[in-house]
């Protein structure tokens, strides 16, 4: 993954954007725009739009390498609404849209946040025509599972311009249906995880790291 990203914060209108470009995860490359609008302290709207193509790069022990960037781009996008129940640190995230394989679906995440851990349960429903599962050739409209997101130390954010550090989180996830190509999306940041928000918004959980004094 190699990306460049820029966040734009329009504090007057309370609108927040993140623009990304480069080589994303899930073998996608292209452009991505994320948007967030904290309507109030417990409700937030968000959306994401991406124009990506397939890419692959490989090398072998004989020293030869090959890279391929396909130009059949796919337009993907989701819209979502988040609700944060502060007294209980419980968050609901509902989103839906178009995904990498051109399929449509909706997902609900129910999350319970602890100091450095988030327990997440998700439920998905696919909309429209179904493609057979790549493993057992069955067609599944629903799916569900869980994830445990651990934030890893150090929890202080460095003020240096160049920071070299290990991964900030570890996620253990399980899906009841083995169907990795269904409702697949990509990540634009190696630090992206299901607990934190991609855009730095002063809402809900916020970022795990606190700025160094």
């Amino acid at each position: 993954m190699a990306t460049v990203a820029r966040q734009l914060h329009f504090d007057g209108a309370n609108q927040h954007l993140r623009l990304s470009a480069g080589l994303f995860s899930a073998q996608r490359y292209g452009l991505d725009v994320s948007w967030a609008w904290p309507v109030n302290e417990w409700f937030l709207l968000n959306a994401r739009l991406g124009l990506t193509g397939f890419w692959v790069m490989g090398t072998d022990f004989r020293g030869s390498s090959e890279a391929s960037f396909h130009t059949d781009y796919t337009l993907t996008g989701t819209v979502g609404a988040d609700v944060y129940l502060r007294p209980y640190n419980v968050e609901f995230r509902l989103s839906g849209g178009r995904y990498i394989a051109g399929d449509y679906g909706s997902q609900l995440n129910v999350m319970r946040h602890f100091r450095h851990v988030t327990l997440l349960a998700f439920a998905r429903v696919r909309i429209g025509e179904l493609e057979p599962n790549q493993y057992d050739k069955q067609k599944y409209r629903t799916n569900g599972g869980f994830a445990i997101v651990w934030m890893l130390p150090p929890y202080k954010r460095s003020s240096r311009k160049l920071v070299v550090r290990p991964a900030s989180s570890f996620t253990l996830s399980h899906s009841s249906r083995a169907d990795g190509l269904s409702m697949q999306s990509y990540m634009t940041d190696p630090e992206e995880n299901s607990r934190e928000r991609l855009i730095d918004v002063d809402w809900g959980l916020g970022k795990e790291e606190t700025p160094a004094n």
């Binding site: 419980v90 851990v117 349960a121 869980f146 445990i148 399980h174 009841s176």
Partner: protein, 263 residues
Amino acid sequence: MRRRRMLVQLAHHKLLFLLLLFTFVGSSVMAQQYTGMTGLLHVPSAEMDTIENLRFGVHLLPKYMMPDAIRFEGEKYASTNWYVSAMPLKWVEVGYSFTLMKFHKNLDKNSEETGFYSKDRYFSLRLRPLREGRYWPSVVIGGNDVIGQRDGDSYSFYFRNFYLAASKHVELPFGEVGGHLAYRYWTKSYNKRWNGVVGGLTFRPSIYRPLRFIAEYDGNGVNIGADCVLFRYVQLQASLMKCRYPSVGGALRIELKGRGPRP
């Protein structure tokens, strides 16, 4: 001669159970059933842990605890159950478990190599609508194997069951005694021996609170056992199912600290 050999084996099993039992030291927490959910040994209860937590564990399942439909070449076998369970809120508990299953390697019946090459996965859920009070018991509604990969497939939902449980504890001078009662329904006919009213008694001695003795009736026999927590993080349980078949399990227990208010 054969009877003498069986008696010697039974004595060895009981000795192993007692050895495991008396090496326990720890703190007072709730036991884990073999599914990773709070309960007794093979019987559910309405107890909940005192703090939100995460548990990773494994439990040995003797042949007695395995559903009759799980066989390899016509024979039942003992296996292990591995689980991840969590209590995100004080009134809900969820768990993911898988039981190792014997098959030929690569599921190729012509292969001579056999072992635990497959597993049955399932989710468990418990909800507590009523917390224990001074005069009333706690009540829990729960189920194991509540959703699965192959809906309607006869080769799935091996451990599926639903239950309604109630628990009440009484503090006595010599310790805490708990009474647990549940009605359980197993959906598969080969598990019906565990259907109906089940229950058990637990006892925590005053002189040693971390230890909990358990005696229960699971619908098909009486099971006895005990559990404890070592150093607050390692949870152990040992039991004799039907007072004959040993079963042990252990889990790593991680308490989840709450998130403080944002500045």
